[in-house]
């Protein structure tokens, strides 16, 4: 019966202080690495490539000193949806474009239901990808303080400033969005507890009273958004009160510095990513 704590338990975006190599890496290097690996992930559909990439992600978790259980526990609330989506994909999507030299076996064909081995491959690969992306996003946000992430992002967007891209503003918006996640999660927990205390169906009954709980949660969306708007307004006032006037001329508390280790990490990951992308059609299965 940990339902309420679960609502609040969001692992992505939560900085976990530490002193690993990954923690000490420059945020710009980390963002680059995550982008490269995500790209590699999204174009590879073969089993072997995904096994290798999964192993790589697990290795990165190890290097970052975060517990795998912690990262995976963040997937749990989404599990019902993932399972439902996977089942639908498996049942109705028998002819996907996946790279594989394995022969395509048709398991079942009956009306709209069409289950094949390549459909199964797509489902399994999608699951692996989902976990990989979770891991990458977790590594990035669990090892980097929000402010550093913001500075990193801003620096990376700066070259586009000439084209009129407001780098500082974009990174600020991104960071505020991330910052609001735990706040909204906490507010959701508060509202759910308040409703439950007044006789609503949340958290009563077993795990499979899913439908009633879902309906009760739906009612919480409106007050949650109202609260978010109220908080956003308060934030505007607070920023104005502290004389925020856009990005121009702002200096920083933290100066970022790229070291040689960051360069090597980027290089290795770039090579890996390019390799995975280049040879995406050459994996044997």
């Amino acid at each position: 019966m940990q339902d309420f704590a679960l609502l609040r338990h969001i692992t992505i975006g939560q900085y976990l202080p530490g002193d690993s190599f990954v923690h000490r890496m420059d945020p710009r290097a980390k963002i680059t690495v995550v982008l490269l690996l995500s790209l590699a992930l999204t174009v590879n559909t073969s089993y072997l490539a995904n096994i290798l990439l999964l192993a790589l992600c697990l290795g990165l978790i190890r290097a970052a000193g975060i517990s795998l259980r912690y990262v995976l526990s963040g997937v749990r609330p989404a599990l019902p949806f993932i399972i439902a989506l996977s089942l639908m994909q498996l049942a109705f999507y028998g002819n996907p474009s996946v790279t594989s030299r394995l022969p395509v076996i048709t398991f079942l064909r009956w009306g709209p239901i069409f289950i094949t081995s390549s459909g199964l491959q797509l489902v399994l690969v999608s699951l692996a990808r989902f976990v990989d992306l979770m891991i990458l996003a977790s590594i990035l946000t669990n090892t980097t303080p929000l402010a550093h992430l913001a500075y990193g992002l801003e620096d990376m967007l700066k070259p586009f400033g000439r084209l009129g891209v407001p780098a500082q503003e974009i990174s600020l918006i991104f960071i505020l969005a991330l910052r609001f996640v735990p706040i909204l999660a906490e507010q959701l927990e508060t509202l759910a507890k308040a409703q439950a205390s007044r006789g609503a169906d949340i958290g009563a009954g077993g795990r499979w009273r899913f439908w009633r709980t879902a309906r009760a949660m739906l009612v919480l969306i409106v007050p949650l958004f109202l609260d978010a708007f109220r908080r956003a307004e308060e934030l505007i006032v607070a920023m104005e009160a502290r004389c925020y006037a856009g990005g121009r001329g702002r200096t920083r508390l933290v100066q970022l510095r790229m070291g040689w280790a960051d360069g090597i990490a980027i290089l290795i990951c770039a090579l890996l990513a390019v390799g995975f992308i280049w040879f995406r059609k050459s994996f044997p299965f």
Binding site: T190, A194, Q195, S197, A200
Partner: protein
């Protein structure tokens, strides 16, 4: 000896166990609340007060050692009827103004009775009663949007929403913080009346020691997840060293009496109700 209505025995609780963010909130807390009492609960920030109280209506369930027994039912039992329990034990949470979830004041207060499947007339009666108790005028407020209320008004609506369930046990977690002094006094009077006339058992958490002194018949002091003191307000507030070490302070009446004693006046240190203190002062002024 009668059975306590709520008995918490050696309760342990950890938030997010097994994660890097785990936080031990309760380390063997025990508390007993008898029917018809007003019990005060004080303690520094992070002592575990809110965590303890959320166990009383099954929002948190004992997972580690420890028992929570409400009206003879052990809440560790997974078959407990949570709806019945939550109707019996009503909690007004900390920051009640963040707990409104309906669009209109009337709907928000009526939420509980509606969940219980009551008739329209009964629902209306309860909403009117609850609004009267917290001091909100029915006709003015019932159709107001909750988003258009002041902080203090939201607070009252949230309290009314819990009262409308007519719980046997009313738990107030810092519910009066932020009310203006006059409203606060009226509110205390209402709590006393709910206790005396309706027989509601009340648990009050407050950082306002005056409020605890004025309301509670018995006080628990909590620190670092367990109870460190228990007694009548007069007894507890006489333990100045303990309270000071926890950064809690004492009601001004208690302080005045202690100071007078220290300076050699013969006053009763337990006369901490405002009227009693005034009597004591008059007595030594006369003599």
């Amino acid at each position: 000896m009668t059975e306590p209505l709520i008995a918490i025995r050696d309760l342990h609780y950890t938030y997010l166990p097994g994660t890097p963010l785990q936080a031990v909130a309760l380390r063997g807390a025990s508390m007993e609340v008898y029917a018809g009492e007003i019990v005060g609960l004080i303690g520094p920030a992070g002592a575990g007060k809110s965590t303890l109280l959320q166990h009383c209506n099954g929002l948190l369930r004992p997972t580690e050692p420890g028992h929570v027994i409400v009206d003879g039912q052990d809440l560790a039992d997974p078959t407990v009827d949570l709806r019945r329990l939550r109707q019996m034990v009503g909690i007004v949470f900390q920051h009640p103004e963040r707990q409104l979830f309906e669009t209109l004041v009337g709907d928000d207060i009526a939420f509980g009775p509606r969940q219980l499947g009551m008739s329209r007339a009964e629902i209306r009666r309860r909403v009117e009663w609850a609004m009267r108790v917290v001091g909100l005028d029915f006709d003015t407020f019932v159709d107001r949007p909750t988003a258009a209320l002041s902080g203090g008004e939201r607070r009252k609506v949230a309290i009314a929403g819990v009262l409308a369930l007519r719980p046997r046990v009313l738990i107030l977690d810092e519910a009066s913080a932020g009310l203006d002094p006059l409203t606060r006094e009226e509110w205390q009077e209402q709590v006393r009346r709910l206790n005396a006339d309706e027989g509601m058992t009340v648990i009050v958490v407050s950082s306002d020691m005056e409020e605890i002194a004025a309301l509670a018949g018995r006080v628990y002091v909590m620190a670092e997840g367990r109870m460190v003191d228990e007694g009548t307000p007069a007894e507890v507030f006489a333990h100045t060293d303990l309270l000071n070490s926890l950064g809690l302070g004492q009601p001004v009446t208690s302080w005045v009496l202690g100071e007078l004693r220290r300076r050699g006046y013969d006053v009763d240190p337990y006369a901490i109700r405002l009227e009693e203190t005034v009597e004591e002062l008059c007595r030594i002024l006369r003599s």
